[in-house]
């Protein structure tokens, strides 16, 4: 299972030049709005014809402009989940789900439909028209419709961007189940570090039409060079293990031997999780701080300091638990005289580790595992 993509296209004043090879699982195409991610998705789907393109999925060449091959979108066997659900308004939910099945290259049995309906929790909606559904329900039907068309690959183009926070939390678990229970690879476009942290096994980072990095989620999200200081919500991923549930409403995790406390987590003891720690929630202190209300203190060494264009500085701290990113002001960095190689402590408030950014399940969790999976 592999997806190989090479694209080149010259827009007016903007060049797209993307190349990546990713394994199965959920690959996040991650970057700011306007960085070219959606164009890449459209090109893979065949909805946009770039100047040069080569797209190969599991050895099947979908497009190779060099060899003069370019399959039309309906022959590519790619299911696309759009930002807007794009359900057919004249068809019922059931007919929408069946739409792609009719054209599927492989026979999608009725049992698979029933299983998908159950998994997405849309059984009670089957006879309704899309117009009567909530945004979240519509998107769930759209996910089912794409999967039942028997695709070799699922493209999800910011599938949560049009939904409010509550709806996002409603849909995200379904994508986690897809990742864990369905073997179809997924390319997931997002500009939200939280979504990427929770879903992605592999990350391809985009910046101004170019791929700036690709690899395991832990490495890419923890790399300050790929997370510009200005980027909203940059933050590192920390793999951890559930150690204990305490009576005062806190769950204790162990990350590389460092204890971390956060509000009660719905996970069994010993379960592997990964936390996203937003760079803006981290305080740095060269000396081990005392008399502080924050519970989580991680010792480490400054691995890199990256100046941003604004007042911010992105500091990456190598800790026993992995890389932690901290965003501090240039003024603080100067006052503390932060330097590469200097021992330092990262201080994180328990409550700032938001519960919805904690991912669990069959994600490659340990940093080592992610590296192996590359």
């Amino acid at each position: 299972m592999s997806i190989s993509v090479q694209l080149r296209h010259q827009f007016q004043g903007f060049a797209l030049e993307a190349q990546f090879d990713v394994p199965s699982g959920v690959t996040a195409l991650f970057g700011r709005s306007g960085s070219g991610k959606s164009t890449v998705i459209r090109a893979i789907a065949g909805l946009f014809a770039p100047d040069e393109a080569r797209v190969v999925i599991n050895g099947r060449v979908l497009c190779d402009t060099g060899a003069g091959i370019c399959l039309p979108p309906h022959k590519r066997r790619i299911g696309t989940i759009f930002q807007d659900a794009r359900l057919f308004p004249h068809l019922s939910v059931r007919q929408n789900l069946d739409y792609g099945r009719r054209f599927s290259a492989r026979d999608v049995p009725e049992a698979e439909v029933a299983q998908m309906v159950e998994m997405l929790g849309i059984g009670h909606l089957l006879d309704r028209r899309p117009a009567g559904l909530s945004g979240g329900e519509q998107q769930r039907v759209a996910i089912g419709r794409a999967l039942l068309s028997g695709p070799d690959l699922i493209l999800a183009d910011e599938p949560l961007a049009a939904l409010d926070e509550a709806r996002k939390d409603e849909i995200l678990p379904y994508f986690e189940r897809l990742r864990d229970e369905v073997s179809i690879p997924i390319l997931y476009v997002s500009h939200s570090p939280a979504e990427v942290a929770r879903l992605a096994t592999t990350v391809v980072a985009f910046e101004a039409g170019r791929v700036t990095g690709q690899g395991g989620a832990v490495e890419i999200l923890g790399d300050p060079n790929l997370m510009p200081a200005g980027v909203h919500g940059a933050g590192a991923l920390i793999p951890a293990r559930v150690q204990a549930h305490h009576a005062d409403g806190l769950t204790e995790l162990s990350a590389g031997g460092v204890p971390l406390f956060l509000p009660t987590l719905d996970a069994v003891l010993g379960a592997q999780v990964r936390l996203r720690i937003a760079a803006q929630d981290v305080i740095l202190s060269p000396a081990r701080p005392k008399g502080l209300s924050a519970l989580n203190i991680m010792p480490g060494t400054i691995a890199q300091i990256r100046m941003g264009e604004g007042p911010g500085v992105m500091v990456s701290l190598a800790t026993p638990a992995g890389v932690v990113l901290a965003r501090v002001t240039k003024r603080s960095a100067a006052a503390l005289d932060l330097k590469q190689g200097m021992p330092c402590h990262a201080v994180i408030k328990s409550v700032s580790i938001a519960r919805q950014t904690v991912a669990r399940g069959a994600v490659p969790l340990g940093a080592g595992e992610v590296r192996d999976g590359k």
Partner: protein
């Protein structure tokens, strides 16, 4: 039975003949121009090609040209001695001075109205839905049949109704092309015209005028109703 209906409306045989012929001519004119109408409307709505504006202008010509000009052009193209007319005659299709010719004239005069209505309804179909259908494996022709056409259907029906109503009232091109032959090409307007040319024909003409008004109003109300249905559907209801 038809005589009973005619009697019920207080129509004489000649008047009834004109009404029945008009309905027949309008029916076939609307029905046979529909496939081409949908095709041209789709091309104008969705395709970008050289000569698109020319096609658009050409479709609209009958709306602007004096009908007598359209009728004369038809005569020059499909008349018994005209190249096309002669060729069609070879395969047994005679248009000149036949009701079929009246249907052709009516179809051409109603064509711009039909294309406009269908084009608007196709343009109202969100191309994103067609894209979604493509991504689910539907070929372009299947996308058309399963998504575009069903969503544009109310507009297509409105176009058919408009073309039908226009065909019922067509006079200038018809009389120029196929003359005014009772039972063959004397449609409602031609019959009204003929009755007005003879002394004592006014009451018969008036009855036909009333029927024309009823038919035209009925068609307009139906097309308005369909247009409203379409607008409602466009909102996803």
């Amino acid at each position: 039975m038809t005589e009973q209906v005619a009697h019920w409306f207080g129509l004489g045989a000649a008047e009834w003949q004109a009404v029945a012929l008009s309905l027949k001519v309008a029916f076939w004119a609307a029905l046979l121009s529909l496939p081409l109408g949908v095709f041209v409307a789709y091309a104008l709505a969705r395709w970008r090609f050289a000569g698109r504006e020319i096609l658009n202008g050409f479709v609209h010509l009958p709306l602007i040209l004096p009908p007598v000009v359209t009728g004369y052009l038809l005569l020059m193209t499909f008349g018994a001695r005209a190249p096309f007319g002669a060729a069609l005659q070879e395969i047994g299709i005679v248009l000149a001075f036949r009701w079929s010719g009246a249907a052709l004239a009516a179809a051409i005069m109603g064509f711009p109205l039909m294309v406009r209505a269908i084009r608007l309804s196709i343009e109202a179909v969100d191309p994103k839905l067609e894209e979604a259908a493509t991504s689910l494996g539907a070929s372009p022709i299947r996308v058309f049949w399963t998504v575009t056409l069903p969503l544009a259907l109310p507009g297509v029906l409105a176009g058919v109704v408009l073309a039908f109503a226009k065909a019922l009232g067509e006079f200038g091109a018809t009389i120029t092309f196929v003359s005014n032959i009772p039972g063959q090409t004397r449609t409602l307007p031609s019959a009204i015209y003929a009755f007005l040319q003879v002394p004592g024909g006014e009451s018969a003409a008036l009855r036909l005028v009333m029927i024309s008004i009823v038919l035209a109003m009925g068609a307009l109300i139906l097309s308005e109703f369909l247009a409203r249905r379409m607008a409602k559907r466009g909102r996803g209801a």
